[in-house]
């Protein structure tokens, strides 16, 4: 069961609800055993939640760094297990840790991961077509999808870690402001303000790059 479903969906049927309860109870038992020194039981938690953590992490960091950051999440979870009070499901706690680890990753690697070059001709071509087209209907072929992913990576790399994270959660992944606030550990107002600024920054970045590219071409 995903984070959103766990937060929002009411227990539609008893069987499913019982399943969640059993899982939470299993988690508590596992955590208790790990805290008493049975470290191997932590492997059960990894097996249970690795897919969930990987899914969150892959939305925020480059594909070749996902495994490394996801590992960091579980190491942090183990190190901070004593702080887990059981007031929220373990899955939610892990979600927060995952987002936090991605944030720390970008804080540490922003300087090395940001591309110094601008967009390529193909990518600016994609931007031109996106600006001219009336719908995304024309963006279905593989080359366009690859270009859009590259443009996305380039644009996100220009943003600060805070803006990058909040924009990804709210604008790209469709989380509500309240969910993003819970995941980031920020206030709702803070998320709203940063999301607005991030979108403005993204638009400015595109506009500047687009103008620079066309200016270079004409001169």
């Amino acid at each position: 069961m995903g984070y959103d479903a766990a937060v929002q969906a009411p227990a539609r049927n008893k069987v499913r609800f019982t399943g969640v309860q059993a899982l939470v109870s299993d988690d508590d038992e596992c955590i208790d055993r790990v805290l008493r020194g049975d470290i191997d039981r932590f492997g059960e938690l990894i097996a249970r939640y690795q897919h969930h953590v990987l899914k969150i992490v892959q939305g925020h960091v480059p594909a070749d760094r996902v495994a490394e950051v996801a590992q960091d999440v579980f190491v942090r979870a183990y190190a901070g297990l004593e702080q887990y009070r059981g007031t929220v499901p373990f899955e939610h706690w892990l979600s927060r840790l995952s987002v936090r680890a991605c944030y720390d990753f970008w804080r540490a690697h922003r300087r090395t991961e940001v591309p110094v070059s601008g967009l390529t001709d193909d990518q600016v071509g994609w931007l031109d077509r996106a600006l001219a087209a009336e719908s995304s209907h024309h963006f279905r072929d593989q080359a366009d999808q690859r270009d859009s992913l590259e443009v996305l990576e380039w644009a996100l790399a220009q943003l600060s870690p805070e803006h990058r994270l909040v924009l990804t959660l709210v604008s790209l992944e469709g989380h509500s402001v309240r969910e993003a606030a819970e995941l980031l550990g920020w206030t709702v107002v803070n998320v709203k303000v940063r999301c607005y600024r991030a979108r403005q920054a993204l638009r400015t970045i595109f506009l500047q790059e687009w103008e620079r590219h066309h200016h270079d071409r004409s001169s």
Binding site: G59, Y78, L152
Partner: protein, 106 residues
């Protein structure tokens, strides 16, 4: 999914959101999980959890709560008792004070 937006900037954002959803899933195998466990065991060896106190912490809190409750009940009963027998209690205290005087009267 086709996105129809009049504002070109919004259209670009929508296209980028579509692109974000097409990111391929990264699968981690058994090796990865074992590597994580190895790292955690190493971490545990370097910073062992004081397991002796893990179970003791809730007990300490429960004992503290019980002690606070007993203290409250005691204070309440003393307050009620002294209100009912204010004069006799004061007299007893005074008597004790007089009796404990180190300077005998001449």
């Amino acid at each position: 999914m086709t996105v129809h937006r009049k504002d070109p900037r919004e259209r670009i954002e929508a296209l980028l959101a579509q692109a974000h959803r097409t990111r391929g899933e990264v699968a981690a195998g058994e090796d990865w999980a074992q590597e994580v466990m190895r790292t955690i065991r190493r971490e545990a060896a370097e910073h062992p959890v004081p397991s002796l106190f893990v179970g003791a912490e809730p007990l300490v809190w429960r004992a503290a709560a019980c002690a606070a409750l007993v203290a409250l009940v005691f204070a309440g009963s003393v307050a009620v008792y002294t209100k009912q027998h204010a004069v006799p209690v004061a007299a007893v205290w005074l008597e004790e004070f007089d009796a404990g005087s180190p300077f005998p009267e001449r």
